[in-house]
């Protein structure tokens, strides 16, 4: 479903209706509260099992407890491990060791670049406001891969097509929660209607701030950010880039109207210049 260019940026939270659904269910998403993640990787395993995601290399990386490394065609949940010696802050809190863990996932952006640039219509917006690849349509053109500002979607090498988290579309359609959220033993991964999750996250971060945890911050919760807010957002305890997340992503198609204007000018200029070269030319 092609979206008109006025949906390329700005606020657009009723994404399903904007995509043409009538009587769509509420937009569903994830709130991943990394402050209670214990790094058990149950989400990674549950995702792999439920979605039948193939093995993607058993390698030793030396990156703390993380041999998965990042999201890709065959990793739809990725638990990041960061061993950090936190520097003493202004209030004189001493140098402190801490272990950050965070389960990353497709953000199911309000303004999803992968969806915008897909030339086959394989990527589509579901009635739940999530973004899903139709694997029976994808021809592996690869455009969605560099379009994603988060490095989520990738090509499965021996298969040629692009794959990513579906937010368990199959489970959602029968009223079940996604496999990762279901398996999460600490409720670090919370699934539900996005507006409810946003309210809950706001309360949680205020609570933590009030208890003196000044590092706590939300990431991807803001409908006014560069991607119109994420369908899957996070509570982080450090800067996003520490977890491998872009600090201020912007959907690339926001600038597409400007690009088309430049293409039009360049095209016209080429036509005129090439024709003008013949005027009065020697023979």
């Amino acid at each position: 479903m092609a979206r008109s260019t006025d949906h390329l940026s700005g606020d657009g939270n009723d994404v399903a209706t904007a995509s043409g659904y009538r009587d769509a269910p509420p937009r569903m998403g994830f709130f991943t509260d990394t402050s209670i993640c214990i790094g058990c990787k149950a989400c990674e395993v549950a995702c792999k099992e439920w979605n039948h995601v193939p093995e993607d290399g058993l390698l030793f990386t030396g990156m703390s407890y993380d041999n998965t490394q990042g999201l890709g065609a065959d990793t739809w949940r990725h638990v990041a491990f960061i061993e950090q010696n936190k520097q003493p802050d202004a209030e004189g809190t001493p140098n402190e060791f801490r272990w950050l863990m965070s389960s990353d996932v497709c953000k199911h952006c309000t303004h999803a670049a992968c969806l915008d640039v897909c030339p086959t219509g394989s990527l589509f917006r579901t009635e739940f406001g999530t973004v899903v690849v139709q694997e029976d349509v994808c021809n592996g053109c690869g455009y969605c891969i560099p379009a994603c500002p988060y490095g989520v979607i990738d090509q499965r090498k021996d298969d040629g097509r692009a794959w990513k988290c579906t937010l368990c579309y199959d489970r959602l359609t029968v009223g079940m929660e996604p496999a990762c959220a279901k398996a999460c033993p600490t409720n670090s991964i919370q699934f539900g209607p996005l507006d409810e999750l946003r309210t809950r996250a706001q309360r949680r971060v205020q609570d933590m701030q009030a208890h003196g945890i000044h590092d706590a911050r939300l990431y991807g919760h803001d409908p006014d950010d560069g991607v119109g807010g994420d369908g899957a957002f996070f509570l982080l305890l450090a800067a996003p880039e520490v977890y491998g997340l872009p600090p201020n992503p912007v959907v690339t198609t926001r600038d597409l109207p400007a690009m088309w204007k430049h293409v039009a000018v360049a095209t016209g200029a080429a036509l005129v210049t090439l024709a003008a070269a013949f005027v009065g030319a020697r023979r």
């Binding site: 915008d116 891969i145 016209g268 036509l271």
Partner: protein, 350 residues
């Protein structure tokens, strides 16, 4: 402390092992060719990343398929205009060379496009939808109209048959051609790859100018000098625009533009400027010298190919190094924090 402790028959001697041996504190800079494998990097105080890994996933497009298509499409599209105007101004040999070159180039380019697909058998799925939000979709429909026109124009020129149809096809190819040459600039820019996206203003101009450089080179190589004077003019103008655009990209992008000046991308861009500049000089000086005209023509074609390879490689480098993604975004955030009231969203790059 982790050091100095010993486990003996009487229990643990010395200090208890502690958690001070943190992993990954000394990483976070530099491009990485391979995401898998050992991490060992120099720390950078101004920039953090997750073990130096890229933030965005690297494009899976391959060379020479995709940069080759950018080159072929640019050459074909602009050569179609040369062909049509050559027809109108009575330069049959120039027209024929340009038409055959266009048709050949666009067909070779399309083979590259289909070959690069993860599922080449599904190439026609591109025709399921028309999406103005996807430069690739727009390009698919452009090519669907342009390619038959370019092929018919070439076939009728070679066989001297169906002349009215040939004239119609030549006209259609000339009108569609420049768009075929320029839309690919938007195609690369409409990604999260910093070196591509941040150059979204210049890229369509660079791509179409580089296309015209190749088309002029082809015409100078293949057409007799009596007829190719307009091509020599195109060569000079297009080469000037091409070099100006690539310089502008390098300068305006700041640190994000580094991959255009260094590494593989930098080498291609350097070669491109030398070949394009040299070719243009040759075009200006060649006059009726067939040998010089042909040599300069070849240099221009090679220069255009190097430009497309350079842009492609620079993009890969920029995608592969988290610095290019994180640092500009971090600066943008800090700027917004310094600003009194960030009411209008910043129009920078992702």
């Amino acid at each position: 402390m982790a050091t100095g402790s010993r486990v003996t028959a009487n229990g643990l001697q010395g200090a208890r092992p502690d958690r001070d041996a943190t992993v990954g504190v000394a990483v976070g800079t530099g491009p990485k060719k391979n995401r898998r494998g050992e991490q060992a990097m120099v720390p950078d105080a101004t920039f953090t990343s997750y073990y130096g890994l890229p933030v965005i996933n690297q494009p899976v497009w391959k060379a020479p398929d995709i940069p080759g298509y950018f080159f072929c499409g640019g050459l074909a599209g602009t050569a179609s205009v040369i062909a049509a105007v050559a027809d109108l101004t009575g330069r049959p040999a120039l027209a024929r060379a340009a038409k055959v070159g266009s048709a050949g180039a666009v067909l070779v380019g399309m083979v590259g496009l289909v070959h690069d697909l993860g599922r080449p058998a599904r190439a026609l799925n591109m025709l399921r939808v028309f999406k103005p939000t996807s430069p690739m979709s727009v390009g698919t429909w452009l090519l669907s109209a342009y390619t038959p026109a370019a092929v018919v124009a070439a076939a009728t020129a070679v066989t001297h048959r169906f002349r009215p149809l040939g004239a119609l096809a030549t006209g259609a190819a000339a009108l569609l051609g420049p768009a075929v040459a320029s839309y690919t600039g938007a195609l690369v820019a409409d990604t999260a790859v910093p070196a591509w996206h941040d150059a979204h203003r210049e890229m369509p101009y660079l791509f179409v100018a580089s296309g015209a450089v190749a088309a002029a080179g082809l015409a100078m190589f293949a057409a007799p000098t009596q007829e190719s004077a307009p091509a020599r003019r195109v060569a000079v103008v297009a080469a000037t625009a091409d070099i100006a655009c690539s310089r502008l990209i390098e300068q305006r992008l700041g640190m994000v533009g580094e991959p255009y000046a260094t590494g593989t991308g930098g080498k291609y861009m350097q070669a491109a400027r030398a070949l394009t500049g040299g070719g243009a000089l040759g075009a200006a000086l060649s006059g009726r010298s067939r040998a010089l005209s042909r040599t300069a023509g070849l240099a221009l074609v090679a220069g255009s190919f190097c430009t497309k390879m350079g842009v492609f490689e620079a993009g890969l480098t920029s995608a592969n190094d988290p610095r290019y993604t994180v640092q500009p975004q971090r600066e943008r955030l800090e700027q917004a924090e310094r600003a009194p009231e960030p009411s209008a969203p910043d129009r920078g790059a992702p």
